[in-house]
């Protein structure tokens, strides 16, 4: 009896769900690398999340990237994946009473971290503020270009990734492509990022930037010392930001970040927050310190201070 009832129904039942499913699968298959793509493209396509890679898999990924960059840039580029140092949490200090807004840090950062020249990406934005208005971001100007700085009646506030302890950017990432490392650096796995730019919208400091196009960097200007989570050449369609020069600072001994080295007035301080004798702890204890947009409770590890 049941057989007779079901006999009139179509053999292939095309529900709305099934149609959508098969269309999606079809598009998915089209999006996969074509059959004549090289093995490295397949490997990149099926690469695991950075934090799920075994030691051997990571080694293979780094070797694959180095080979790809060699072909792409025509020179040797090393890609490290140096892990965080034990007992280290990085902190940064910027002396607003010293900064003159000369932008040496901005351009030092671009060179060190292989930022795109065209279209232009700057990880550091120097704001010119008016002394009589104080820290009033509504009146900030970052296109200033007088013959000489500092300009009378103004002070300068360079802004970059604040390496928050409670970052909004990592919280909104739908694929967990960005996270906080044990040494406090907020990093991005460029191979896992899907380019949705939620993190850019979430960041209250405008610290994240998007690769709209493939970065055009003259091969001679490329910094060949790179880190997987830092300054390696980025693919199109991913976000990027300051990493406290992860490729420099995670070494033993570790160089100061490029912006610290570039600063002509010594306004920039960098060190280990867990070292009580270090310069960051000293400035936290003895200077007038503030953090940007404290009311958002993002808990930055980037401290602005007044030494005088």
């Amino acid at each position: 009896m049941e057989d007779e009832n079901s006999r009139n129904e179509p053999i292939v039942k095309l529900s709305r769900r099934k149609v959508l499913k098969s269309v999606a699968t079809g598009i998915g298959i089209l999006a996969m690398p074509t059959s004549n793509a090289s093995a490295s493209v397949w490997e990149a396509f099926f690469q695991k999340h950075f934090r799920e890679l075994s030691r051997d898999e990571l080694k293979q990924v780094l070797a694959r990237l180095e080979a790809a960059y060699r072909q792409e840039c025509g020179r040797e580029i090393t890609v490290k994946a140096t892990p965080p140092l034990d007992g280290v949490k990085f902190g940064y200090g910027l002396d607003l009473s010293r900064c003159i807004g000369c932008r040496r840090c901005v351009h030092g950062c671009v060179a060190e971290n292989n930022q795109s020249r065209q279209p232009q990406i700057h990880w550091i934005r120097a704001l010119q503020l008016q002394k009589d208005k104080g820290i009033d971001l509504d009146h900030a100007e970052h296109y200033y270009n007088p013959a000489a700085v500092p300009l009378d009646g103004h002070f300068y506030l360079p802004v970059q990734c604040q390496q928050c302890e409670r970052p909004a950017c990592t919280k909104v990432c739908p694929v967990k492509a960005t996270w906080t490392e044990a040494d406090g650096i907020v990093v991005i796995d460029y191979n896992w990022c899907i380019g949705c730019r939620y993190c850019m919208a979430a960041c209250p400091y405008g610290a994240r930037h998007f690769n709209w196009e493939k970065a055009a960097i003259p091969a001679g200007e490329l910094n060949p010392d790179t880190h997987y989570l830092g300054n390696r050449p980025r693919p199109v369609g991913v976000t990027e930001k300051c990493t406290f020069c992860i490729q420099r600072t995670r070494e033993q001994p570790g160089r100061y970040p490029a912006c610290v080295e570039a600063c002509p007035v010594g306004a920039r301080k960098f060190g280990n927050l867990l070292d009580p004798a270090g310069e960051i702890r000293q400035l936290l204890e003895s200077k007038r310190v503030f953090i940007l947009k404290q009311e958002l409770n993002t808990q930055p590890k980037f401290f602005y201070f007044f030494a005088t």
Partner: protein, 179 residues
């Protein structure tokens, strides 16, 4: 009343110490140096001297020091002393006998590589901050060897105010980059 006095006495040393800005830890940070002992142990960059001016004894060796304050006419006329509103003159800081060295107010002669001690006689707080790495600039490694820039690398001792700089180019305005 007595309990209140004791309470105040108990609290007072703590507040005084907090106002002392952690002096002992700063001293530790600077390699067990403190302001009471000579500061010898700072690795500093080579002093930045004008071309062909040093050693001073090349010219001054045979001269008898003229201790009178005066306008220099023949040599060093280009130096315009804009430090402490005219209170200084050459031999307050340059040693009159030991010409290649500097002179502390005590009369002690110190090498140019220790000029921070000389500056620190007036600018004590700055010297304090400099030792801890808060004032001035250090290069090298955040967790390794550091090299201090001397005061004179950034401040011309004869005219110490930091000079204005031309800023590097501003960012491109969106929409005008032609992309």
């Amino acid at each position: 009343m007595r309990a209140l006095t004791i309470l105040i006495l108990l609290v007072m040393p703590g507040t005084v110490d907090a106002a002392g800005l952690g002096v002992p830890s700063l001293a530790q940070a600077a390699g067990e140096n403190n302001l009471a002992t000579p500061l010898h142990r700072f690795a500093v960059a080579a002093p930045n001297l004008s071309e062909g001016i040093f050693p001073c004894s090349d010219c001054h060796a045979g001269m008898t020091p003229d201790l009178r304050r005066r306008e220099l006419q023949d040599e060093h006329a280009a130096i315009s002393l804009q430090h402490a509103a005219g209170q200084f003159w050459c031999l307050d800081c340059h040693h009159p006998e030991n010409r290649d060295t500097l002179r502390m107010t005590s009369g002690e002669s110190i090498p140019l590589t220790e000029s921070y001690r000389l500056c620190g006689q007036c600018h004590g707080r700055k010297l304090h901050d400099w030792q801890a790495g808060l004032h001035g600039k250090r290069t090298g490694y955040w967790n390794g060897d550091k090299e201090y820039l001397l005061c004179t690398h950034c401040h011309n001792p004869h005219d110490p105010k930091f000079k204005a700089l031309k800023p590097l180019p501003p960012p491109a305005r969106p929409g005008r980059t032609g992309h």
